[in-house]
Amino acid sequence: MNNNRYITVSQLTSYIKYKLEQDSHLELIYLKGEISNFKANSPRYSSFTLKPAHSPISPITFATNTKSLTFVPEDGMKVLVECRIGVYEATGNYQVYVNDMMEDGIGNLYIAFNQLKEKLEKEGLFRAEHKKKIPKIPRKIGIITAPTGAAIRDILSTIKRRFPMCETILFPTLVQGELAKDDIVKKIGIANTYPLDVIILGRGGGSIEDLWPFNEEIVARAIYNSSIPIISGVGHEIDFTISDFVADLRAPTPTGAAEMCVPNRVDLINLVNQYQKRLVQIINNKIDNAYEVLNRYKNSYVLKNPMSLYEKLEQNFDYLYERLFSSIKLIINNNTNRLNKLENSYVFKNPNMLFIDKLYNYQDLVKRLNLNINNIIDNKRNNYIKLLGKLEVLNPISTLKRGYSITKVNNKTLKSVNNINIGENIKTELEDGFINSEIISIERK
């Protein structure tokens, strides 16, 4: 015995703790049982044991974070527990640390909840496009909830605080129990016959069983089919019911529903005042700008010196006038110069210059003409004289002078002896007279 290694009890406990907490199988365990000896030891820590237990004498303690409980555990309640194992070193006992816990019978409700949620979601009842808009400033509000209790009180006081200038109509209904779902459906129907702007469907906190009417299919469909928008404010912040999904707006609580439903009067007053300020600001700016523009124009050079409009025109006019004037002067000068030039030109002064050639030509031609004429006349005279000479020679009279004579018979000139006969009378012309003869004889040559 003396050769063995000896340890203390606490070392043993430490080892056991280590071993147990290391074991992966013990990290996450699901247990089923009945609660007993439930104690809420502190706001944060509660303990209980689960029956059937190993030993009633030293029960295994379950420790849980009270805050994380979604329901109020009671002795005798059947529960489903998700937990892990630890060792409490001080006592050497193992402990069960609860992560999550829910009521056993509740499991069925959760299943039903999820099934219905899936079904309605598939049908499209939760679709955002179908949700009606909640009017920003409602004047008539319908409330469907119990006529007594915190819910209606909170809703009405919230509305009164925020926006008293509206009218509310309460449609009292059962909010838990078997008969609640039909009553809720009925009240939604009645509310729809009134000219309401919005309906608040509310209920205070409670267990899943308490809130169950708001998970019923007929209630969901009644909410879906309501022509007046419905704000759902059921239970606490963490509670989600089918009604919340199908409603046009979900609020975490009944008070929250009232807050979402009506605007805050003070906020609206501030908003309106803001608008007023902005309006005044805008209009002042606009007027200032307009003044600025006006002054700019008033102070413009043209308006201050309207004559400046004329100045330009006058200048233009003067300029053009001068140009015109000098242009005309120039033209006149030019023409005068030209005229002078012409007048003083040699040709102008001696116009005969222009035709002196012609004159010479003419004189020359006259000379030549005279010369030629004289020549021609001389020629002709000479010719004439020549011809005259010839003619003198040829003149029969001249011939007569030379002793020749012309013999005619019957006034016809006798050229041949053949043309005459003996005994005919002939007349012969001599230079100084005539001889009348008779033919006595003919001699031919």
């Binding site: 004047r139 509310t168 109509i169 309460l170 009067r265 309006l279």
Partner: protein, 77 residues
């Protein structure tokens, strides 16, 4: 009926007010139009302001079993 008229006044007034203010702030309005719109908007804002400041008790009714509406007073705690 006056209730629905009131409702139209209120919510639509505020929307109209916002619309005019935004339009004027965009700066595309000429001076004449701006003055007209300003007057209208300021008038609206005064009406809204007045209504909001009216001291009014909220009217609470309850639908009874007989199918009528009666005045409803919350039971004090």
């Amino acid at each position: 009926m006056t209730k629905s008229e009131k409702k139209i006044d209120f919510e639509e007034n505020i929307s109209e007010l916002e619309r005019i203010v935004t339009e004027l702030e965009s700066g595309n309005v000429n001076l004449d139009d701006a003055l007209t719109k300003f007057n209208k908007a300021y008038q609206l804002s005064k009406e809204c302001d007045q209504k909001l400041k009216e001291v009014s008790e909220s009217v609470n009714k309850i639908f009874t079993e007989e199918g009528k509406l009666e005045e409803f007073h919350i039971e004090e705690e």
